[in-house]
Symmetry: C2
Subunit: 408 residues, 2 copies
């Protein structure tokens, strides 16, 4: 009889965002006239930049003509895009085009990467954290069961809270895979080079691999904050980096991201022998993936053109201004706010000691605003709440007004 992967049965309830959708839909059904403003999921609202639209039209036309039609592309992505990525995002960092693997999004990659790692690796994640890191490890069998708080046996949780200034402590035990995300989702915080240097040193001395999620890199505004893990000396032999066109170029519905796997990165096999992680990921992608749609890759490449870069800079500035308005509005109400400077997320302490979900329900009920409960990202997120700055200016201004009316 066909046996299921019983690890799926350890997963707690739904994935966070479907649960939010469920509550919002229930509220909307009961209050048909309420104008709900959604600041929960970090989904962009502004249209694709004109340079990208234009490039996609050209590519679609190419697909419609026998002379320029493209069938199967390289599973790893087209050379033109891999080269544009290296030149546009990794200049001077010693990354080669064939170390870049184009994909349909970094959510997929950050889940699929576990295919190439063995069961039994010890996993460290920050807490709170992007739920996909946790859930994909549960599915892969890298954890035990969850406790009442939603914490899984076998994962090392590194709390990031106001108390440690949102800087995770270097573990005093051995771990093998470490998930780091900067600018951070959900807290919107960043770390400097010294902090990342310590992680690289830890990883190198323990043979660990850092899975570095830089999906929000474009939102860094402050000098001296690293945009890539490969700005850190030694990272090429201990880190994989995930990036996305979702948040900077507005690709959440267009789907393109990429993963950088340096050739010098090694894991070990059962015999303790070093094995190229690049070769394994290449094999995984060649076998289980068939490349990204050509018009989408053409659009992504346009993000690195002169016009594309300028348009994306405008988009990013637009969302960052939203974040600033949210942050200032909340702070004027005496609420403690983090993030929102180098990231499109504002992370706030719930007022009056409300739990994250209590505040979610209250906010929805009283202001018709939807945010994300901090506890949905992990136990240490309890008492926090995330607001996304991905919205129209009018909605952000309206949200601030509603918050003021409700919380003042």
């Amino acid at each position: 009889m066909a046996q299921i992967n019983h690890h799926f049965q350890k997963l707690k309830a739904g994935y966070l965002f479907p649960e939010i959708a469920r509550r919002v839909n229930a509220f909307a059904d009961a209050h048909a006239d309420a104008e709900v403003i959604k600041m929960g999921i970090g989904d962009v609202t502004e249209p694709l930049p004109a340079a990208i639209v234009q490039a996609m039209h050209v590519a679609v036309d190419e697909m419609g003509s026998r002379d320029t039609f493209r069938g199967y592309g390289p599973e790893q992505g087209y050379e033109f895009l891999r080269t544009a990525i290296v030149e546009g995002s990794y200049a001077g960092m010693g990354i080669a085009a064939d170390e870049v693997f184009v994909s349909d999004g970094s959510k997929c990659d950050s889940g699929n990467i576990l295919d190439i790692f063995g069961i039994g690796n010890r996993i460290a994640i920050t807490d709170p954290v992007y739920p996909v890191y946790v859930d994909t490890n549960v599915m892969a069998g890298n954890t035990g069961d969850a406790n009442a708080q939603g914490k899984y046996d076998g994962l090392l949780y590194l709390p990031v809270t106001e108390e440690n200034n949102f800087v995770p402590e270097i573990p005093d035990q051995e771990v093998d895979l470490i998930y780091l995300c900067y600018p951070n989702n959900p807290t919107g915080t960043v770390v400097g080079k010294e902090v990342l240097q310590q992680w690289v040193e830890y990883a190198r001395s323990h043979g660990a691999i850092i899975l570095y999620d830089a999906a929000y890199e474009a939102f860094i505004t402050e000098e001296g904050i690293p945009h890539s893990i490969y700005e850190i000396e030694g990272a090429h032999s201990c880190a994989i980096e995930f990036r996305s066109f979702s948040k900077n170029a507005g690709f959440t519905g267009t789907r393109c991201g990429f993963t950088v796997v340096p050739k010098q990165l090694m894991g070990i096999d059962d015999a303790g022998k070093e094995v190229s992680i690049h070769a394994l990921w290449n094999r995984r992608q060649a076998t289980k993936f068939n490349g990204v749609s050509y018009p989408v890759q053409a659009g992504a490449a346009a993000a690195y053109g002169q016009q594309g870069k300028a348009e994306i800079a405008e988009l990013v500035a637009f969302y960052l201004k939203n974040a600033q308005l949210l942050k200032q509005g909340l702070e004027s109400l005496g609420i403690r706010v983090f993030g929102g400077v180098n990231a499109p997320y504002v992370w706030l302490k719930t007022p009056g000691g409300a739990s994250s979900w209590e505040f979610f329900d209250l906010l929805l009920e009283k202001t018709h605003l939807v945010g994300t409960p901090g506890s949905g990202f992990g136990a240490a997120g309890e008492g926090y709440f995330r607001l996304s700055a991905f919205n129209s200016r009018a909605n952000i201004e309206e949200s601030v007004e509603r918050l003021k009316k409700f919380l003042q």
Copy 2:
């Protein structure tokens, strides 16, 4: 230290098509003036139908305008496409729209599906077979090592050769997951309802699940050949079906496919309790996938419109005519040929008892034609050779000429 998934080390050499590419590139480097015609990979050559190009342009424009922009779509695919698929491909078969999961291709799905099944399921595949089924099971740890022939311990191989008329025998032992592909890749053969009915009965009586790959369904020309496993009574409780827009609508570079998982399909957990496969796959997709690019889904939906259907019918007829020309050309040379009637593949017995790779090298050297060695699809494919009918008419005619010159 980060441990790799050691099952990857069991994989034999490269995946078949990269190996072919390697040999072809080496030949091309040494013979710069040779006009190589590639009939190896089953990759379409004709442009996207005009109805699809048009729909994609409209969708790209929608993405470029604030009012019609779409961010994250449903991980399972847009309602408009799921409904079009059900109405266009499953009318009267009792499949609901929410049983259809849209993806970026059936190669991905047929690999990823193993995420939801436990280790230890006994796997049956036909031999020869699409290599992705085998390699993804190796990666997942469902097999032992390969022997000198490339056969993996722990897989049940069901030979399909001229001797059994390319109809796999029902196993006399217990298996849990069964891969079937009709019209068949690589042999181009089909089976009737009675054969599939026997498989459904086997699966139902053993609690097994059939993974049914119908990527080439559009090429069926003969009456009475089932287009879907769900034409078979009882299949809804024992089969998953994979389909693709790659071969009918020319989407190999545009990327869209889908997987049908009926809600009544159950697997069992460690305690022997029934668990919904639909719920597991839904959870897998929601967690590790983020939906298909909106313009791509809009294009796929146009495949079901009146104009799209007519254009696709023309495309399919075009490739089938190619297949017929290849088949007739080869048969006129006294070569035994299978497939090519309900499929875009011609499967031939190598002349003179040559091994598959010997014939590959000889054909490349003497005629500058590239095909796929039958043994690359499995041990029972030894002595066979696949030619793909996906090509321009001129190339097919030229190929037949070259074959005649060489083999006559």
